[in-house]
């Protein structure tokens, strides 16, 4: 049974997985993995441009990547960003019920997020085209459009490897990682 989210044990287990993965993998990391999320978190935390643009921002932002079993993503993936007044407290992959409860949830199919992170799709444009869907107070996001754009730019600057481009062994490794995350962390 998975460790309950929100407990110290959950955070410790999550951090251990991140540490193990960072020691065993080398950049560029695979999009959506805990080590990639950690790399992204550090980029946001150290980015002066984001800090300035987001100085009035309050609330969590969740990127929801819809499941795509053929590439190893058997379930929807929720990347939760705890953001407050220009600070990024953490970015983590979280269980579905936690992700859905985020203040702003931006949902898209895997291909859409891949396009965003490959700088082929602008998030605002994607939302206007309905390729990405926002749950949350739209005016607040619009007011903070510069901060949101910066977050996306930073995600693209990680230059991740993409799950659909992995060989079979890579996809199996990803599937095993996500299965472990599900069993231990309820992700």
């Amino acid at each position: 049974m998975a460790i309950p989210y929100g407990t110290d044990e959950w955070v410790e287990t999550y951090n251990n997985i991140v540490k193990e993965r960072m020691e065993s993998q080398s950049p560029p990391y695979i999009m959506g993995t805990p080590e990639w999320v950690k790399q992204y978190e550090e980029l946001i935390q150290n980015d002066a441009e984001y800090k300035e643009a987001a100085k009035t921002w309050e609330g969590s932002v969740v990127i929801k990547i819809l499941a795509k079993p053929e590439i190893g993503l058997d379930k929807d993936l929720y990347m939760f960003m705890d953001l407050w007044h220009g600070d990024c407290n953490y970015v983590r992959i979280v269980p579905a019920e936690v992700g859905e409860a985020g203040d702003y949830v931006i949902t898209g199919e895997y291909e859409r997020w891949k396009a965003v992170m490959a700088k082929e799709l602008d998030t605002v444009k994607g939302m206007m085209q309905g390729k990405l869907k926002l749950k949350g107070d739209l005016p607040t996001i619009v007011r903070a459009v510069k901060a949101a754009s910066r977050l996306v730019d930073l995600s693209a600057s990680t230059n991740p490897r993409f799950p659909d481009e992995l060989d079979d062994a890579g996809k199996e490794d990803l599937r095993a990682l996500l299965k472990r995350a599900e069993e231990e962390l309820g992700i």
Partner: protein
Amino acid sequence: MADVKLAPGADEVAMAVMLSDMLKANLEKPEKLKEFNKLKARVYINAKDAETEITMDFNRGTLTVYGGKEGSPDISIETDAATLLDLANINIKYGMPWYFDETGMAVVKKLLRKELRIKGMFTRLGALTRLTKIMSLN
């Protein structure tokens, strides 16, 4: 509550849904509702990079949003999706849109560079000013 509705089929056009939701939220403010109740104009918006277009038909207290070009517009706005959101961030000062701060100047620069094209800017200046005040989140 302001009478803002989507024309049949417009609910399938994300930009129509986004902008009507944004307007509904804005119109909860009495000063914006007052402007809304005076505005009569048909406004066409084309987010060229997103290849999406809508028409907003303001009729003194009601608004119908169409998912595409509908009728003959009084005001046409053509730009990219991000600039449309910049327009929503224009500040209002002394009861008028304010173009002398960073956000306003960025919009003016885009106008000069023709990255933002507004037809009806001079012939329907009053309506455009009213529209800007209604659309502004500030």
